[in-house]
Amino acid sequence: MKKRTLLFVSCVLMISLLGVVITGCGGTKTTGESVVNGDENDTNEKPDTTPSNNEADLAEDDSVFPPAEPVTFTMLYRDHPGYPYNEDWIVWEEIEKRANVTLDVIVVPMSDYGEKRNLLISSGEAPEIIPSTYPGEESAYIPAGAVIPVSDYVDLMPNFLEKVEAWDIEENLRNIRQKDGKYYVLPGLREIVVGEYSLAIRTDIFEEHNVSIPDSYDDLYDALKQLKEIDPDGYPFSDRWEGNSLLSQAATNFDVQAGWGAGNGMRYNEENDEFCFYPIVDDYKDFLAYFNKLIKEGLMDPESFTQEDETAVNQKFAMGKGYVISTNTQEVISMRNKMNETLGEGNFQVDIIPPLAGPKGRIASSNKLDNGIIISSNALNNPNFEVLMKFVDWLWYSEEGQILTKWGVEGVTYTKEGDEYKVLPGLKFTSLGINAEDEEAKDLRDDFGMNNGVFVFSMYNGHKELMYSYMTEEARNLTQAVNELSTFRNPDPPVLMDEAQREEHTMISQALMDYVNQMTLQFIVGEADLETDWDGFVNECKTKGADTLIQMTNDIYDETK
């Protein structure tokens, strides 16, 4: 009896397992189909259906924008907790009115936007337009053909093309191209390079003690030395973001990379037209030596590289301990607000200074791309596909679309005085710090839907004037300074790896960079000695595969350039 039940149970288990296998197959089959679809569309040599050659005969019918008949497109919407989605926003109404397009949105909480995007795309249920995607995030969707190579369709996007050409962005676009030479994400475009991160200093203290405002990293050293005399036991410089912003900014001026910008260890050398492993070159040693000097002489807080932001800002800088700290144009405002509470208004002055020059000059990356939009291959099934591309071009890249999503409707939300955009009286724009104290006023973002990350990328994009219109005076000055003072370094040319190569590359570089980052900090804080331990560090990098990485990167680069 007992034996029989056991047999029975195992039979059932077997059957259910089979069932799972079958349904499993069913699942993959559907995705398989979509793969085939995608491929078909790809191999069918899309140019046939692209308007480049049949624009003339299509001009009168379906592909006209704005369309004669109202159309609906589906879109993924990233719901920012700071300005919760509201279907009554004027921005939806205006889009409908001007473009004759209704956006049917899938609202996804920002906290897990990426996860839901993955789910929808891999289940084949993705909406057509998927904004708020950073270049690089799209690569996972390409092998299955789930997103379209937008570069094949930019002919449909006059505004996009015009800006790419006028603002010299082709070079930047090269970096988001995949191995097949196409790009799959439409990035936000900027006319000029934005300066966001730099150092903030306590100008009042600098002035009081006659310390001149630094212009280079050497000046910074001298200034910190003078400041150290005020309080010999304290540190004049205690940094936030675990030093990542500072190292990242400083490194480019030593012709290396570090911090947030450390990357995978590869750096392009224009003279030899090849990639090198930058952490073992002498410039990197000089870079480390500089920061090691700051720590050794007690000018910089060794905790800078480990402490939480809260400690660095709330308990140190905002309490008057330390006179220099990394910041960006938004954070400096919130820092001042905190200091109004802690030190009292008028008792301090904090300013952002332009980026400092290093031994190799003042170098900035010439990146003019922002996060972007991907188009799911489901859009190809839409008979109005061409209208869709034109609509994307209009809303995200045309002057009219950008003004609408940034400032709204003239006479309703803003007025224009000369070149300046002014929020109408009785309204406020808290996210730009305009009229923020007025509790009763309606907010351009919260109540009208302007400055929405889904439409404006990360705030600064479009024409120079439009970019400036969104900046505080301080941010504008910083951006101007960056553009005037800096020499721009072109982004490294892309190394077009296929999936297997990328995997191998990452496997080596990840372990290697973990070690490099760890040693970088040890060299800086003095736990490792730059004189005695440097050779060991170089050798260890080589045993961990630095040479293989160089070889591999250069081979692939030569093959695909």
Binding site: V9, T23, G24, S245, Q315, S458
Partner: protein, 293 residues
Amino acid sequence: MKSRLQNKISVFNIINTLIMIFVVIITLYPFLYLTSISMSSEKFVYSGDVTFYPRGFTLRTYKVLLKDTSFWISYKNTIMYTVLGTIISLTLTVLLAYPLSKRDLKGRGVFLGIILFTMFFSGGLIPTYLLVTRMLRMRNTIWAVVIPGALSTFNVLITRTFFEGLPDELEEAAAIDGMNTYGILLKIVLPLSKPILATMGLFYAVGMWNNWFGPFIYLDTKSLFPVSLYLRNIIAGAQSTREVTGGDVEGFGDIEATIKSASMIVSALPIIMVYPFIQKYFVKGVMIGSLKG
């Protein structure tokens, strides 16, 4: 017996009490901390001065929260999902567990096997998603929240074990008096099973109240979101973008620590308040020896 226990102050009692007080303190502290933050002014919150009691007392945060319609819509949804979901889950659990508790049920082992199987294997995320959206067409409806996962295998097994413990003679007597199976279940078994119903109800209700993943993947319209989505977004939303962009680009100062705490308090309170009312059933210890099946 009772008085002897009360009068006796043994070393065990003292240590036990001390340990329990300690446990109570560490359990309550987070709530206390959140409450004081939600009632303090930001100045003290930023400087980290708030600990046991509010500093710079203000109710401004709660006023702001009261005005936030999307919070209250989510709140309403959560209550709806919890009530409906608990009813569905309880009904299904009882209807499945009761027949399984009958030893003379034909193919009982098979059914148990199938049920146990789901405890260890699942179809995976994407097949499940496709099942719910394409075949059941439940995407973006309340049913997608309350139906998939309505039945918890674990809870079914506990309930079944409880039913097995009821004396067969009672049911036989009812049957002899002419009651049918449903009558027996409704009029005899269920009234005797209040402890297990209360416990399972609580398990399901808490699970449904906190349910985040189901609503997250199946719901596309903001007006259907439960409060768990709202909360996670304001707490984790800011951090996740910060990692990507490496800093503060879009003004995360928008949501203050005080608002976060206030919404956490307001949304946790109701489900906490359910406990005292069904606590008496827990004393009976449903879980003891329940998992021998």
